[in-house]
Amino acid sequence: MFRLTWRLQRNGLIGMSAFGIFYGILQASAYNSAAGTTAAARRAFGQQMETFGQQFSLLLPLPHGIDTVAGFIQWRVYGALPLLFGFWALMSAAGATRGDEERGFLEVWFAAGVSQSRYVGTRFLVFATSAAIAVALTSGAIDLGALGSGATLPLSALIEVSLDLFAVTLTVYALTTVVAQLATSRGGAAGLAGFVVGVMFFVNGLSRSIGSLKPVAQAISPFYYYDRSMPLSPGGRFDAAATIALAVVALLLTALATWLITIRDLGTAVITLPHRERPATNRPSANPLLRMPVMALVYEQRLGTVAWALGSAVFAAYLASAGRELVDLVQSSTGFRAYLTIVGHGNPYVALTGYFWFGIFQALLAVFAITQVARWSSDDNEGRLEMVLSAPVSRTRVVVERAMALLLRLGAVIAVSSAAFYLGAAAANIVVDPGHLTLASVLLIPFALSFAAIGAILAGRAPRAAVAVLTSLAFVSFLITQLGPLLRWPDWALKLSVFSLYGMPLMGGVDWTGLWIMSAITVGGFVVGVLLMQRRDVGR
């Protein structure tokens, strides 16, 4: 059982380890080129970064001791790793629970006498082993990168921060295993868990600047407990109790998942909605949407679209309604004033609230595009594409319909979220210009389509690897926006990131260069996607 599940986990381990090693070495070795080599230069860099780093408090912990290699690594590298390892844990857990079930593995294993507890326990153990290896390799790479920057990281602190990362990764895995019991498919489990973990992550991120959210983060977010330890930072410490608490929660959640899986039937969720008996029929559905090109695809994914739209809208409304408090905080703190220089002139309430929201929304829409590409890949792997192509439908039409359906879904998610943002801002007495908001919202479409277009190329070339490659590309793209300013990269290099191509249209108008590049990526990507789709073999 262990060996079998190990094989299923192996590719994820290899991918995550490779990524962790690359990320660790790159980030840690970047220190000298960014901070300089003299003590004075590093001090200046530290002060500059501590101000600059406040801008990323939603995603990264508040910076401290950046004038040392260890402090920089604690903030920049180990600050971002929970998100990356958490994503891996989430996808692994969704695959290990619902994915195994969809593929019929659970049926076979349970029929062979494997108990539910043994199955969940083995899967957890296999992931824990993988996570331990991936974390160890990543930390080893970070240590090597630090050596490249001329610093030796204290071994004990490196072990402590690795344990902290390991514990939070396990917690996300166990949490997803529990949440997956509420879904009936792998995609549903990943989406639901993504929402739950995302909320936990962002609540913790917001609590770094909004004090009133701290008790909420403390109550619900494992990332809060991860942040408690900063052993690499100068004067920082390792909160063993917080790390142990994370590990204990992971074990308790695994026990809960085991119990939940024993009380439900295979193929069902723990909580099932009341079954509405429908009269038997031998007629096709009269739903006209199913017979319309494009709309059939939109209809098929209607629940996902509604979930995304509502989730984003709630988040947008919340952030906008807290905007006034947030901006007052920024204006009252010298550390946070760097935000004001970034967003430029104009009403700081609109500018800053919009800056925060559209920054988050970009990341969410990138994930949305990736989930769509995942769907395209599964169309191929699960035989739906074969079924479509057995009808008189061209491969070009398949790609065009996919793009059009995504466009409509994106439009719905963005429209609902922007409306919620507008109303939330109005509730906080922040008057957002509807025209500017519409412009900023519309420009999110080419942004998200750019990712999808790259995904169309990947899905046309190698559907099984499409999601992993696109996720890596999105992350690298995100990394460029993080590393670029730090390493003082030229403007053209920053434009390599799709995130930076969007600009700040709510206050700064259209970034025409960025828009043209995004449009070129979108059109070019889907055209290449069509060509690749024409040429490749389809099927399971």
Binding site: N282, S285, E382, G383, E386, M387, S390
Partner: protein, 310 residues
């Protein structure tokens, strides 16, 4: 007669000797071709090439003169396809799946859908994921037959169906044939092929080993014969008889295998006191197994009946 399906040197090489090689095949309009072969022989590869889902490494396939690759959309207007394994439609109801595929295809008569569902006692109100394997296969049959195609390409279509529904399926195939449809039926179940096929193509190791009319295939059958004598056994005469093989004697009893005519054996028995003679005709299944068990190189039409013992 019009050629419905035609392949010319059709090949798909997956490497390491796997795939389909140099397939030359013609199926006439209104004909039912049973395409037989064990797992991994290349049956599904052939079908996927005909459906334009994969690209050949050499050769071509045409349906009603239309190239299956370059004119794939036009080809599929004529074709109904029943895959061996239906895709996952998750939470959609079967009625929605039918409406969706009907929308892609166009020109589907709802009455035909209703008729097929009635024949198979299939309730379209259920969600796809709630269907049993058999019901999923019935749905695949509905999707393949609902537009009354001129050509039916069926990839092991009765998997998961119970015997009653299998019979219903065979009846539907016969009716489609009677209405002029051409059927390409891939299967590894000989009895299924026997039910409806006019002609059989046997594929082995990616190469077409033989095509024959069903009655010709029956001719390659052998018979297991057991003869009981009251007196002396004319063993040497039996061994010398044409078409008689694997002779085993046990006191007054002789067992042997007879291929083709019994005339020579009867001549050998002339004058002997035969008290009992039984002849057992193996099923096509056993013939098929014999065909595949043989390691002789069986290629193309001219290949004769198997020479190995069953």
């Amino acid at each position: 007669m019009t050629t419905a399906i035609e392949t010319s040197g059709l090949s798909k090489d997956y490497g390491r000797g796997r795939g389909l090689f140099d397939l030359n095949l013609q199926v006439e309009e209104g004909e039912v071709l049973g395409y037989l072969g064990p797992n991994g022989a290349g049956k599904t590869t052939t079908i996927r090439l005909l459906m334009g889902l994969i690209h050949p490494t050499a050769g071509s396939a045409r349906i009603f003169g239309l190239d299956c690759q370059r004119q794939a959309v036009a080809v599929k207007r004529h074709v109904g396809y029943v895959p061996g394994e239906l895709p996952q439609f998750g939470g959609l109801r079967a009625s929605e799946v039918v409406a969706y595929v009907a929308g892609l295809r166009g020109g589907v008569d709802e009455k035909v859908v209703a008729q097929i569902c009635q024949r198979f006692n299939l309730d379209l109100a259920q969600r796809f994921r709630e269907y049993s394997r058999g019901n999923k296969q019935k749905l695949a049959i509905v999707l393949g037959f609902m537009h009354r195609p001129r050509v039916l390409i069926l990839d092991e279509p009765t998997g998961g169906l119970d015997p009653l529904n299998q019979q219903e399926f065979y009846d539907m195939c016969r009716e489609s044939k009677a209405q002029g449809a051409t059927i390409f039926l891939s299967s590894h179940i000989l009895s299924e092929v026997e039910h409806i096929s006019d002609r059989v193509g046997i594929i082995r190791g990616g190469r077409l080993a033989r095509t024959a009319r069903l009655e010709d295939l029956h001719e390659i059958r052998y018979r297991q014969v057991e003869i009981e004598f009251a007196g002396d056994v004319p063993l040497e005469a039996i061994r010398a008889a044409t078409g008689v093989d694997h002779v085993e004697a046990d006191n007054h009893r002789v067992r042997c295998v007879v291929r083709g005519s019994f005339e020579s054996l009867m001549n050998a028995l002339a004058g002997a006191r035969v008290v009992n003679l039984t002849s057992h005709e193996p099923s096509l299944e056993e013939v098929f197994l014999t065909f595949y068990r043989g390691d002789t190189d069986l290629t193309a039409e001219e290949t004769g009946p198997p020479t190995r013992e069953a």
